[in-house]
Amino acid sequence: MSPGKAQQPTQVNPTAQSVKEKELLKELQRIQGRGTLPDTRTRVLEQPEGRAWRQFHQVTLRWIGAVAILGMLGLIVLFYLIRGSVRIEGGPSQARLVRFNAFERFVHWMTAASFVVLAISGLNITFGKELLTPLIGPAGFAEWSQWAKYAHNYLSFPFTLGVVLIFLMWIAWNLPTPSDFKWVAQGGGIVGSKHPPAGRFNAGQKAIYWIVVLGGGAVAVTGYLLMLPFYATDIAGMQLAQMVHGVVGLVFIAIMLAHIYIGTIGMQGAFQAMGGGEVDVNWARQHHSLWLEKQAKKGRVRGAAPAE
């Protein structure tokens, strides 16, 4: 190998293959190379998916949230105006029975209270700056958002614990049964006075249970991925986690608005179940007749003998 051979011009012309900056900026795929810094994320030169994520977060997610939440509020108001509050047939009696014990009520309220704060602080991230900055100014809004973020991060733990306990506590009563299909077919008795029989939880409540468990699980998993950034995912994973967290969260809020409505003003005698734990027998006969029969057989009904 003579030294002269090394002097030959190469067949490759690197300059001809060089990329103009305009092409780099028009590229739609992630461009990744090699780098010398210890942080491996610096190897990515360009990730154009950020553009798509921006469009989703600023436009699409807000539409989803507005339609879901405002739409649900509108439906609830309409329903109340048309149907009104569902009254107990025959009026409240003196006989009562225990529906939820202390532990169940504790878990529910821990989850519910966390959910409300999580919902408000979460909505603040997506909608807050347009709605609140004109009221409290940018510095005030940033301070409020900082504390909202802390609340969101720390209350995620009792919320997740609550979801897990709810799953374990009530799984036995939330598996589908034949009475559920009849209940759904009759629309749950929501219109008219004919009320289909139901067990401890009717099909609507079972739907809420599974939405809470699966939806709550989804927001919990994606939320922890967001809270511990890049621990288990790369940038694409983080963007996906944020999108799932946002969509599931907003739909969750909309559904919980309906749940809160029906448990408070939507149905007479319903709040007592989770409030004090005991419910009226007439209410139980109207909405959960199969459950009432079982409880009566076990001798758990207190007070005057049930009328009719």
Binding site: G35, R51, R54, G128, P138, A142, K149
Partner: protein, 277 residues
């Protein structure tokens, strides 16, 4: 009004990381944060290219659009800056940025993000210019400030100044685009295009206190070597022009200053010739 931009010529970048080091030093960037980074594509293969990348100071900045607390703002020079006081460390700016410019010291709760930090075009932040509050200090691993504010002193970002091959250019977008687009070594182009101002800092007009002349000095106001030129620069200029180069411009691409022009009255010696007696 000038729109400040960065341009990196991938053909000239040699991955020396001088820009990275200069930035980290000048702005005392904390450990783990890399405002500027060099990425090498096709490493070891023909067509290997390196690019120095930091914040691109976008016109329609995605980081500013997605920030939940609107902590970003754009200066009159089209530099995108942000306020660490308003930042809540949510990380959305990093998801949206196509270039990965926002960085976070991992000092937030649960070891997650703290206040976002990014390339400021050496233009500081919302605090008053050139104050210690703006420069910042270490506070529990978090850098509370924004680093040096060179733009307020009429200087360009240190990364572009330090670039060993002049592949990273910073300045008015139109001017540096012309330099890059003209092809060939940027130094010669500067003279050819009549763009004798704006680049290397040692040729900028400065007065005795070392601060740029004028309130908001545009780096492109007047040619160097006029009037208040520092002695060091003139000496360098004289050396360049007396070197016998056949080009009318010195090796840095500048036309000769008034002090040097007398030295150029005689035509350059093209070859060694015996002196006539």
């Amino acid at each position: 009004m000038a729109r400040m931009k960065f341009l990196c010529d991938a053909d000239r970048c040699i991955e020396c990381n001088a820009c990275v080091t200069a930035c980290k030093n000048e702005n005392e960037v904390p450990w783990g944060i890399n405002r500027r980074r060099v990425v090498t594509i096709n490493d070891g293969k023909p067509g290997e290219r390196s690019v120095s990348m930091a914040c691109m100071h976008c016109t329609d900045a995605p980081c500013a659009a997605v920030c939940p607390v609107n902590c970003f703002y754009t200066t009159a020079d089209a530099v995108v800056l942000h306020s660490k006081d308003l930042c809540i460390g949510c990380g959305y700016c990093f998801y949206a940025c196509p270039f990965g410019a926002p960085q976070y010291p991992k000092v937030g709760n649960f070891g997650s993000r703290g206040k976002m930090d990014k390339c400021t075009y050496c233009a500081g932040g919302p605090e008053a210019d050139l104050t210690p509050a703006e420069y910042g200090s270490r506070d529990n691993g978090q850098f509370t400030g924004y680093g040096s504010n060179r733009l307020a002193e009429g200087k360009l970002p240190i990364c572009a100044e330090m670039c060993s091959t002049k592949s990273l250019l910073a300045g008015d977008g139109e001017i540096i685009a012309k330099i890059l687009g003209a092809g060939g070594p940027p130094r010669l182009q500067l003279g050819r295009l009549g763009l004798a101002d704006g680049l290397p800092r040692e040729h900028r007009v400065v007065n005795d206190t070392g601060r740029a002349a004028g309130a908001n000095p545009a780096p492109y106001s007047s040619p160097p070597h006029g009037g208040n030129c520092r002695i060091r620069e003139a000496k360098e200029c004289q050396r360049a022009h007396r070197s016998g180069s056949s080009s009318p411009h010195c090796y840095l691409g500048w036309p000769p200053c008034s002090r040097c022009r007398p030295a150029r009255r005689s035509s350059p010696r093209r070859s060694i010739q015996p002196r006539s007696r």
